[in-house]
Symmetry: C2
Subunit: 191 residues, 2 copies
């Protein structure tokens, strides 16, 4: 078995959501598994000086159009949430509170709640409700969970992750849903 | 004949160079012509707060790797120039000094000089030399040429162009060489 693909994303990232809907199938096609690693873009933005796309003059307007067109291009249902962006902190904590087998289904449920059903997953109570629907009862205020989440986010930043989605395959980094084609070719054969 | 595709780019943009090597063939495949419109990213960056990629912490290191990998992905020869980025002002002026038939060959020669042969096209004398090689003698200090160039760049900014490459097809904007696939599908059928 080849090494897993590291898949970093922020729960509030539209392109991260699109990637989340597609990465497992891509990896499976190339005999790979995926290590899902949610992180917090805000922490990376402090280092790169970046800002959430919708807040940027001119580029923000383009971005909203591009989010929806990219979703149609990739055949993934998406709406722009009423409250956008939001903090992915509660979602990250809920994710890291579970054992590895249960994490990805929760991540997908959270992303779909936010980007399809317009549920504000920045609110911890909504995250807890979605987790409960899958049979989990995360205690988001638990201090060891907070510490674990922080160390996962710090580890992503230390690896140089500055955007969402961000993939690493055999040491090669790919930033953006728009590098999916390069990632796919790389998995077939590094170029 | 369908409307031309507007193709905006900065002469110092690696992704703009990759697009320049590919846009004419893509357009022709879909029965379109291309209106080449070089502009100056610096003017757009003042509005969006963006900065040249190589100057950004963490993201800059990734960008250099991505430039070269993207060039290999698209099958276009490219080296990262020793002096990078440079001002595209002299190149823009030389471009707009010519009549429409002669502009695109000069643009391609300038881009290849910079991204393949490592000629610093930020230096007006190098731009003049490359133009001379194609039989042109632009006077880059001509005041009406300066004015024309400025009005072309201002018009691009007024259209909302904030990056390079940036395409507009029938009113639909596409930013980035990584939207080439969406542009191609759009030309076949808007989605």
């Amino acid at each position: 078995m080849k090494a897993p693909i590291d898949f970093y994303f922020d729960f509030s990232s539209p392109y991260g959501y699109l990637a989340a809907e597609k990465i497992d199938a891509l990896a499976a096609k190339h005999g790979r598994s995926v290590q899902w690693r949610p992180m917090l873009l805000g922490a990376a933005f402090k280092l790169t000086g970046a800002a959430p796309l919708p807040s940027i003059p001119i580029k923000g307007e383009y971005a909203k159009r591009d989010f929806l067109r990219s979703a149609r291009f990739h055949g993934v249902p998406m709406k722009i949430p009423s409250v956008f962006p939001v903090s992915g902190l509660a979602a990250c904590r809920a994710f890291y509170s579970l054992n590895e087998n249960n994490r990805v289904p929760l991540a997908k449920a959270l992303l779909r709640a936010y980007f399809v059903d317009d549920v504000n997953i920045g609110e911890p109570e909504n995250v807890v409700k979605i987790a409960a629907g899958l049979g989990h009862k995360p205690d988001l205020s638990d201090s060891s969970l907070k510490e674990k989440t922080k160390s996962e986010v710090d580890a992503a930043i230390a690896k140089g992750v500055f955007g969402s989605p961000y993939f690493v395959a055999d040491g090669e980094p790919f930033w953006g849903i728009d590098r999916f084609d390069q990632l796919e070719r790389w998995l077939a054969k590094p170029f």
